[in-house]
């Protein structure tokens, strides 16, 4: 097993026995594990869990009032909206005993949204905007 493979295993889930054995003798991977531990966010707090539990209902309410404002103007995509709202509604009632199936949104396909191109430079948050042109050092990884 090579370091890059171990790194991928360290990114989530339980590392394999092979990865753990590598980790024991490889200081580079030990440092990777340490840095990933430093970078990871702590588990959700009680407050965050509370916020999350009330989120679906208020989002549905806001989505409905947003929709009322646009009623009569927009007809296209009603099905998609219904599916999205369906997912939110499903999550809003999840605490009730009625079984909630997987949200319908998984089957909704649509065009990617136009999202604003952000200029992080002005905030000096990044000085390296070159992406896509990256090399993968592992000989086992061939699709770049």
């Amino acid at each position: 097993m090579i370091c890059e493979e171990v790194e991928l295993e360290l990114s989530g889930g339980e590392p394999s026995t092979e990865a753990r054995a590598h980790l024991e003798r490889c200081t580079a991977c030990q440092e990777t594990a340490r840095v990933l531990g430093l970078a990871a966010l702590p588990p959700l707090t009680q407050t965050e869990r509370l916020v999350l539990s009330g989120l679906a209902a208020t989002t549905v309410e806001r989505a409905r009032s947003q929709r009322r404002r646009g009623e009569g103007v927009r007809r296209v995509g009603t099905l998609a909206l219904a599916a999205g709202l369906g997912a939110l509604l499903a999550s809003a009632v999840v605490s009730r005993p009625a079984p909630v199936s997987e949200p319908m949104v998984r089957t909704v396909m649509m065009t990617a949204p136009e999202v604003p191109v952000l200029d992080f430079d002005e905030a000096n948050l990044s000085d390296d905007e070159v992406f896509f042109e990256v090399g993968w050092p592992s000989p086992t990884e061939g699709d770049l």
């Binding site: 679906a56 208020t58 646009g70 995509g77 999205g84 952000l118």
Partner: protein, 165 residues
Amino acid sequence: MSRHQETVFRVVRRYAGSADEARDLTQRAFLQALEACERTPLSSAVPFKAWVLRIAINLGKNHVRDSVKREALGAGEGQGPRVALADEALERAEQEALTRRAVLTLPPRQREVFTLRIDAGLPFAEVSATLGITEGNAKAHFHHAVKRLKEEVARLSAPGGSHDL
């Protein structure tokens, strides 16, 4: 709770300063995604989850950018003196804070891949589907993100290393 909503929440909390901000960003991401649904005909192949995650990441980035601007405007206000490191726990806490901040300074694609993988816990196949790149490309970006973070941590840990990102 909707798994999508929790996933979005887990992604935006990296960019948010509090639980309330994370809630607000999550809500806005869903509302914008729903609004976009109304406007856009159902056509090509981006699932709702990918769509809302992309919007969430962008809202998060905007949020950080605006916060940095506000901080710059109010520079010098409310900033206490830098506390000397008293013990290992404090040093660890400071390193965590600096490393988490360093994640936000990663090049965009590296940051997106990193947060979707580490914060949202998405498998690489889903990370790549969300961002519209190949899985190999997502893994490469992840590798470069980790490399960069390791360098940053090493730099910060070195004697005289700057603690200002």
